[in-house]
Amino acid sequence: MTKAAALRARSGWRYRGNVALRTLAGTVGAYAVAALAAMLLARTLPMGRLEAVTVATMFSYLFAPAVTVWAFLARGPWVALGGVIVLSALLAGLVWTSGGFA
């Protein structure tokens, strides 16, 4: 079922589950991706520590809405949620190797 068709059929548990999963990906997921991406930038940007943290913080507000929009445009709800989880895990791994969780 295409997304357009799914959104047109606005009833039933299938639709509600779709919206719930995308909402989860687009809120908690979007924030997690933005926060982790900002942590990675804060560790890796080639500038002073405070400047890296500041630039990373400013970028985080661009990442979050982008992920939210994507979560509602992805092919399916599981793709949205899975994509966000995979991306978060990848970023978390990179943050960990760069020492951001220390």
């Binding site: 295409t2 804060a42 560790r43 500038m47 507000y61 979050a64």
Partner: protein
């Protein structure tokens, strides 16, 4: 264009329109309060002057700070800190926050005598705090404001994507056509000032970054957050109290030395830490009216000797960028014309939010009878959209009617504002919207007129005159809208008219 790609595109638009509607609905009322209070905060110094009409004395920033510290030395020497904002061409009092015993006080001090002004009020500080704290204790108010700002950012982006003909719609207005008119109004106010809306939302999030996005800070600094604050303002000095009493050295030479350290910049804020202690520190911040960048320079002095300890003028590119973004939100740099553009932008965002909330209902009403949830929303719209401004105007009226010298006067003014807004929301819920809208807007018009009369209306003092004229203009505009509504109540509604014109 192939049919498939057109379908995908329409699907994208539909999904974004859906998301735009729900994100807007979710925190629409919170955003309405924030935008209205934020718009009013642009004129925070002028609001302070309207609300303290007895203060006519003027003094330059440095002598006003000297007077204020003189009064505080006698009346609050045991405080852990005095946080002073100097007057400039706009405000004419020193804003002082300090602790006395277990109380934290916010007071406006006379620029010449340094004593608190008789008509105690929070002035514009109420709207300023409401804008990002929403009358909810720390940190929850600021977190809710952050969440609302993030939702706003998503609503703006999805609104842009959902929009089919962004340029054409810009010139489209179809009055008295129900849903279409609301949509046109929503589009006009939303699209016209879109760069402003995006800027103010993004920079607003940034001002609360340490609360809403602390993770990059913890990645960079771990649990040594104090190191970050020291690096952020290298001209500030924090040191513990010595525990030995001492008196402050004269402040005036420190202010002059600070201005020299700023390369000719002006004194904006002066923080005195542990003022009655041998280890006191005086930190002077450059005026935010000097440049767009917020908190550009600081200079710290040993309080007992007046010796310069550290000074700093920000030149790091990333930090300048951050300060400019922050300063763009605060708008303290803005000269008169720019300030009015901020007010216009803020008013349009407030209108975009309120028309969006009304549109949610208008759209659903034309499709089918409203569900119970939407009927409650329809009434909440009346209560909130008229009630929040009504509370704000009641705050100004209370400022004139509450007796001077009354105990807890500043809090009483705030209570009047909050209870008025709460009563208005209840009235909106109780009344049929067809009656609620004109009645509540009529009440708002009356309140605006009353505030102008209490101004008093014959005052020729420029700030009072301007304030009174604005109140009268709002009263007039609202009265005209109410008259139109009353007239239209007897005319056929757009829905009925359309049914007559296009029989099925």
């Amino acid at each position: 264009m192939s049919g498939a790609s057109a379908m995908v595109r329409d699907g994208v638009r539909q999904a974004m329109a859906w998301l735009h509607g729900w994100t807007g609905l979710l925190l629409g009322y919170v955003l309405f309060v924030m935008c209205l209070a934020g718009t009013l905060s642009v004129f925070k110094p002028e609001i302070g002057r309207w609300m303290r009409p007895e203060v006519t004395a003027q003094a330059d920033s440095k002598s006003a700070i000297v007077a204020a510290t003189g009064w505080l030395s006698k009346n609050a020497p045991g405080s852990t800190g005095w946080y002073l904002t100097a007057p400039d061409g706009r405000a004419n009092t020193v804003e002082a926050s300090y602790d006395q015993g277990s109380d934290y006080l916010y007071r406006a001090l006379d620029p010449v005598t340094g004593a608190p002004v008789a008509r105690e009020t929070l002035g514009g500080e109420f709207f300023y705090r409401l804008h990002f704290e929403l009358e909810i204790p720390y940190p929850w108010g600021r977190l809710l404001a952050s969440l609302a700002a993030m939702v706003m950012l998503v609503a703006l982006v999805t609104g842009i994507i959902a929009h089919k003909r962004i340029f054409k719609d810009f010139f489209t207005f179809r009055p008295a056509k129900g849903q279409r008119s609301w949509l046109d109004g929503h589009n006009a106010t939303g699209v016209l000032a879109m760069p402003f809306h995006l800027m103010i939302t993004f920079t607003g999030l940034l001002t609360l970054a340490s609360l809403n996005m602390p993770w990059p800070i913890s990645a960079g600094y771990g649990d040594k957050v104090m190191e970050m604050y020291e690096a952020l303002a290298p001209g500030s000095v924090t040191r513990p109290a010595a525990g030995k009493p001492a008196s402050l050295a004269p402040i005036a030479p420190m202010l002059t030395a600070a201005e020299r350290a700023f390369g000719g910049g002006h004194v904006g804020r002066v923080y005195v830490f542990n003022p009655g202690d041998a280890a006191s520190v005086v930190t002077v911040y450059q005026s935010d009216a000097d440049t767009i960048g917020y908190m550009r320079g600081q200079a710290s002095f040993d309080g007992t000797t007046g010796r310069l300890l550290k000074s700093w003028v920000e030149r790091r590119p990333a930090m300048r960028t951050y300060q400019v973004a922050y300063g763009l939100h605060m708008a303290r740099f803005a000269p008169m014309a720019t300030r009015w553009l901020y007010v216009l932008g803020g008013a349009m965002l407030t209108l975009a939010i309120s028309t969006g909330m009304v549109l949610w209902i208008a759209k659903r009403r034309e499709r089918q009878p409203l569900s119970i949830g939407n009927r409650i929303l329809e009434r909440l719209n009346v209560g909130v959209i008229t009630g929040v401004p009504l509370g704000a105007v009641a705050y100004f009226i209370a400022n004139r009617l509450l007796p001077i010298g009354m105990a807890g006067r500043p809090d009483a003014e705030v209570s009047v504002a909050l209870w008025t807004a709460a009563a208005a929301v209840l009235a909106g819920l109780a009344l049929r919207p067809a009656i609620g809208w004109p009645l509540m807007m009529g009440l708002l018009a009356f309140a605006c007129a009353l505030a102008a009369v209490l101004g008093p209306v014959w005052s020729t003092e420029p700030v009072l005159l301007a304030g009174n004229l604005l109140f009268l203009a709002m009263a007039g505009a609202l009265a005209l809208i109410v008259r139109r509504q009353m007239r239209r109540r007897n005319a056929p509604t757009p829905a009925r008219r359309r049914m007559r014109e296009q029989p099925a």
